[in-house]
Symmetry: C2
Subunit: 411 residues, 2 copies
């Protein structure tokens, strides 16, 4: 299946890559492109480019290819007609999951869940995984502050206009050299390269130094221990400072090995002490395994090298895992709130109508569904219609028959 | 291909859905789940659930299914072996795009690009599309302020610690009732439901009222015109206020129809005047077509109803488009900065080594590549090794032969 070695035919990028870069340059910025690839011909550990060069790949799409290119098992999964509908039908997993979702989740993600974690939330990419993990930590922290899970009227009112207490002045502590993604929440915890952050507004969140170890480790035992102690002391100082200035640290995020920032390591002892500091100060401990997870360090999760029973509250993943998401403990769950015609409006297939009140709207949605028509709500008391572009006149008739039947019950 | 009508067999959720919800509840929060679906049996406008109920779907996965369930053309695209490698091999599009990427981009996204926009950036979801569009607007605005594209040393230094001027105090103006996603940047512009925002820190960004029109429109012509004028006046006031308090508005984001917020419409005249206000105050104008785009309103883009030659600077999309991303004008391009052994370190397959300086590191990466070995850089002067989990001992030998050859050139 695999090739027997590298084979270089041209300089890289070769003439075909250069030609394609010129074409793509008309549509996108191409400043970061290395060369163009022939993924169909890429196999196992070899990446083949469009000029026929074959390279042994020790970088694997920034650490994202778990078992090599074009692996027959993955090709088989993808060509299985039973799996195809997941790609074509784009299920909104949070509201309308497919039948096999619990089983697949148990068989795949939950079968490799980190110690102490029985719950997993899937996401589309590493940045979204971290963003949503942050949100879980903030909600968890606020519920702890409130002593219960019921937000006040003031919380609800103020959050709609971005103000505290509803949007609280909480922070996430991160480390210099860390990389956690490029969306704005993640970016506030990312400190590896200026180009990622420049010109983007950010949050006033604390940033601790990550240990700079000297190698070989056995020659610098004392220096490295001192360096780690210095960084941990700084972490505690920052937690206290930010609490004092009214922006308490809700969570600490760290990579088991800082990857983008320079493959910076710290000892298991450092991480164990950091985890204890999080406990001591009531901060959630979020281990970002987007790049280190899925076997990359010889254990399934890099944090397993720390030898702890309770190493983290949140573990995020993506890349090699072939889906994004995060594992979390039971207590890190967002709260849920239990939740005739006017203003008919619409453009094309994008239509809506208001119902006299929320309760009626909700009951209409359910009654229509029980008669076989699926509608959505929006706003306080509106119903929205979002048919597909293949919704024809006879579908409209079916819809109107059901909808009129339902509405008749309210007269 | 399609069914001939709805067919309801049980209450919804039926017994099988309830059983699955209980199973999934052990692994995830299931508070928002309606029922479980049989996507393999779902066709065209009909969604089939796991209890055999068949519903005419006028909601389509929150407006995300362009041409109905299990459409044969999409199934055909997916089962084409030539397309399979894109899913299995996860190309990092920004650095190693596949050969057909320029052609596919031109044939698909660019063939339907909004007026005045010749460039498109793809993203994995709607939230990431908006987050990255925001970043483009901030960079564009800062370059305009600087008068050139070269950040200062102070910009570069301060951005690494989340401080201005590198992370500037800029803002995005949004509208009450708007929904632009749930990552933290998007969330600061989202104001539709408290549950999306509650307990998450946010930015002090201006929020304008969106017109509340009265229906039927023809009976409330004067009132509605007054209402739109009131909202536009408020937009200008907010832009001035935020400039005065040192958080200038870099961009305005708006949906052509506020969807999640209640299907709230405004007139083409309102949007034309808003666009002019953006011009007048030097703010970028970002039209979020994540839910309205791809034909939903009878035109390909909802903003085409406004009848303008230059309706927007940025147009973001996702959902029905089956990929996320944003279109933008030429000038909204992020700048690119032109970017022997010690400290060997590693855990499992996750290894790195430092090179004496950045220039040497970079030239080693290129020379290794020219000999057929693909490596990655990280940090200032490190090389990172991220082989796949099928990297065997004989791959290591191939690697070491090449690497040693390259290093020999530097002695």
């Amino acid at each position: 299946f695999e090739y027997d070695g590298p084979s270089m035919k041209t300089e890289v990028p070769g003439p075909r890559s250069k030609e394609l870069a010129k074409q793509l340059g008309e549509m996108q910025n191409v400043g970061a492109i290395n060369f163009f690839c022939n993924y169909e011909e890429s196999r196992g550990n070899y990446l083949v480019d469009v000029d026929g060069n074959r390279m042994l790949d020790v970088y694997t799409q920034i650490s994202s290819i778990p078992i090599g290119y074009s692996h027959p098992s993955l090709m088989k999964v993808l060509s299985n007609p039973n799996n195809m509908s997941a790609f074509v039908n784009r299920p909104a997993l949070g509201i309308l999951p497919p039948e096999n979702f619990p089983e697949k989740l148990a068989e795949s993600l939950l079968s490799v869940s980190p110690s102490g974690m029985s719950r997993a939330q899937t996401m589309a990419c590493g940045s979204c995984s971290n963003e949503n993990a942050f949100k879980s930590m903030f909600i968890w922290y606020r519920n702890k502050e409130r002593g219960h899970n019921n937000p006040s009227e003031e919380d609800i009112r103020s959050c709609m206009i971005n103000q505290s207490p509803g949007c609280p002045n909480l922070s996430i502590l991160s480390f210099m050299g860390g990389f956690h993604g490029r969306t704005m929440g993640c970016l506030a915890t990312t400190h590896s390269k200026a180009i990622h952050k420049l010109d983007v507004p950010s949050f006033d969140w604390p940033i601790a130094p990550f240990p700079k170890l000297k190698y070989p480790l056995e020659e610098f035992t004392r220096e490295n221990a001192q360096e780690e102690a210095r960084c941990l002391e700084e972490v505690e100082d920052l937690i206290v400072q930010w609490r004092q200035k009214g922006r308490p640290v809700a969570g600490i995020i760290i990579e088991p090995i800082q990857a983008e920032g320079g493959d910076n390591h710290a000892s298991p002892d450092f991480f164990r002490k950091l985890r204890n500091i999080a406990h001591k100060h009531g901060c959630a401990f979020h281990v970002d395994e987007v790049q280190t997870g899925c076997g990359a360090t010889g254990k399934f999760w890099a944090h397993e090298h720390w030898g702890m029973e309770d190493p983290a509250d949140i573990v995020s993943f993506s890349k090699k895992m072939l889906t994004g998401g995060f594992y979390h403990k039971d207590e890190f769950q967002a709260d849920k709130y239990p939740n005739l015609l006017s203003s008919a409006r619409g453009v094309g297939t994008f239509c809506a109508v208001d119902i006299r009140d929320e309760a009626t709207r909700n009951s209409i949605l359910i009654k229509a569904r029980d008669k076989g028509v699926l509608l959505g709500g929006c706003g306080d008391r509106s119903i929205r219609f979002r048919p597909a572009l293949v919704f024809k006149e006879y579908h409209v008739h079916i819809f109107l028959n059901v909808f009129n039947d339902v509405l008749a019950e309210y007269n």
